[in-house]
Amino acid sequence: MTRLERALRAHEGPVVVAWVVLIIVFTVGSSHFLTISNIDQVLVQSLFVVFVAIGMTFVLTVGGIDLSVGSVIGLGGAITGLLLIHGVPAWLAVLGGLAAGGFTGLANGLLITRLGLADFIVTLATLSVVQGIVEVMTANAPINYPPHALSTLTSGHIGSVSTAVVYAVLIVIVMTGVYRFTPFGRAVVAVGMNPRAARLAGIGVETTRVRAYVVSGVLAGLAGVFLASYLSTVQALQGSGYELTAIAAAVIGGTSLRGGRGSVWGAALGALLLSTLQNGLVLLGLNGYWFDLVTGGVIALAVGLGGGLQGIRWIGREKVARPYQDGSPA
């Protein structure tokens, strides 16, 4: 097996290939695409989903699903905003937003593990509860961030690169490290792969699952802080719908919905793929009504490519009983 073949068959292979193809298409199609300012903008545009998708990768890997992130984005931004308005130092306010996210994740994790409720139902319920809390907080008026508070997060520049992009790259590197090289990361994979075996190996299965939800909550809160700082305000429905986008990004990036397998940088690239697609289609001037159809098609193609690339090794070799497709349970 050549090195290229192996790289292509890595779980991140399809998203890399799909992304490169998109970049080539858009570069040929529009002279405005491959410019530093546009690339920077695509990166900034993607980072909210990047953060959420990274957290989602932990939850999906451990065998769960976190639908609550959509409203936790609003909560994180709202809490930070309220603290800023009341004169709390910026770093503490951001911590407050992250803590709110982490607390929601903790609640999710505890409800799921201690009460034995389905992940889907619990996080759907907290999606609604947190949404309601944000609605109550913003009932009279949106929470407007004080001018210039946190402006370094999303509007600062280092050279021609936004500081937000630097933060995002740092987060991706750190979280990749956590996922791949720490005991916690390995526990997440082990629990997702085979909870009983993990338990026999002395891994705290429940604890690991709770922690995965906390990670997801904190990162959703972080996304919320960045989004609120980017928009300089928090409204009632801010972040709604991110849950499905984040799951899509994670899966496009090679994370399995069945648990046990995932990639942090793959998820980040999955999110980047989606924002690149949107930016490119806008620059190409595609009629707005076509975006949904094309997006759906590209998602299917990008992931379908994964199926195709996985199949490379079957070409010209003896027919081995191919495992049932990824979607099937064990």
Binding site: L117, E206, I247
Partner: protein
């Protein structure tokens, strides 16, 4: 005003809530079948919207009603077939294939209508079919259809070969394959069932609402259907689920939202309460399962039992 104010849980109250739930029930039945086989069908919301809009438009174009319904149901078959093929033969995970279909179908609808609603197609007959007009006290056509679908679904899952295969594939796909079950075909069949039921639900919804807004109609119904099925005992990891439970789950969700409007709860707080009530319903369901299984099983279900053993990742 003429109508006396009946209680929330009076017969009349239940009539309205059940009549309102049928659209979710229909797709929740399909979702249950798909969940049992180990999949998930997120495309049903858009599938309903396309079916509803197509029904309305074809009627406006003067196509006979029976033919319209046949065409739209066939479109539902086609959507399910494409979902199934993408998942089993192209190898796209269920969640992503059907999410892509959700997005793509909504896109097709927007391209076709340019955002304009389909309206003015409702006749008295279609209103009857959609359940906005009763055919007997406390009874509408969609209720009867839904009852028939629920019974058919239960029978299918319990007493037919396909039903056993669905459980087998969802319980352990590889073992099912080894046992000679054509797992891919079974899975495709499940998505076709879900697609057809979404189309049926869309046909009825178009009659019920008398107008179809391409951007918003039935948007988000997919999550409601999954929630109903899971509340009804289905597992996202496959092999488990109950049509009857899904029906109760869908009605429970309707009751929850109705209750808050009924008491005119401050809308700013209603989302909080909806979430809390969904959790309570899940707890009740969980408690019911524990009580029900305590006698029969030798192994007491652990409250914190993790999901069933899942397959190791494909080695590279």
């Amino acid at each position: 005003m003429g109508v006396a104010s009946p209680g929330f849980t009076s017969l009349n109250g239940w009539y309205f809530m059940v009549n309102e739930s049928v659209f979710i029930i229909l797709i929740a039945v399909g979702m249950t079948v798909v969940l049992i086989v180990g999949g998930i069908d997120l495309s049903v919301g858009s599938g309903m919207a396309v079916a509803a809009a197509l029904s309305g438009q074809l009627l406006l174009d003067g196509v006979p009603m029976a033919l319209v319904f046949v065409i739209v149901l066939l479109v539902g078959v086609a959507v399910g077939l494409v979902n199934g093929l993408l998942i089993t033969y192209v190898g796209i995970p269920d969640f992503i294939a059907t999410l892509a279909m959700l997005t793509a179908l909504r896109g097709v609808l927007l391209i076709w209508t340019q955002g304009n609603p389909v309206l003015g197609y409702v006749t008295h007959a279609y209103g009857v079919i959609g359940g906005s007009t009763k055919i007997a006290p406390y009874l509408t056509v969609p209720m009867l259809l839904t009852l028939a679908v629920a019974i058919a679904g239960s029978v299918l899952l319990r007493y037919t070969v396909l039903g056993r295969h669905i459980h087998a594939v969802g319980g352990d796909g590889d073992a099912a394959v080894l046992m000679g079950v054509r797992a891919k075909r079974v899975k495709i069949a499940c998505y076709v069932i879900s697609g057809v039921l979404a189309a049926l639900s869309g046909i009825l919804l178009a009659g019920y609402l008398s107008q179809v807004s391409p951007g918003t109609t039935a948007s988000g119904y997919e999550l409601m259907a999954v929630a109903a099925a899971v509340l009804g005992g289905a597992s996202l990891s496959g092999g488990r689920g109950s049509v009857f439970g899904a029906c109760l789950g869908a009605i429970a969700l309707t009751v929850i939202t109705n209750l808050l409007s009924w008491w005119n709860v401050n809308p700013n707080w209603s989302d909080v309460l909806v979430g809390v009530l969904i959790l309570l319903a899940a707890l009740l369901q969980r408690a019911g399962v524990i009580v029900a299984t305590r006698g029969g099983q030798t192994k007491r279900p652990r409250l914190a039992d993790p999901q069933p053993v899942t397959r190791a990742p494909q080695s590279v």
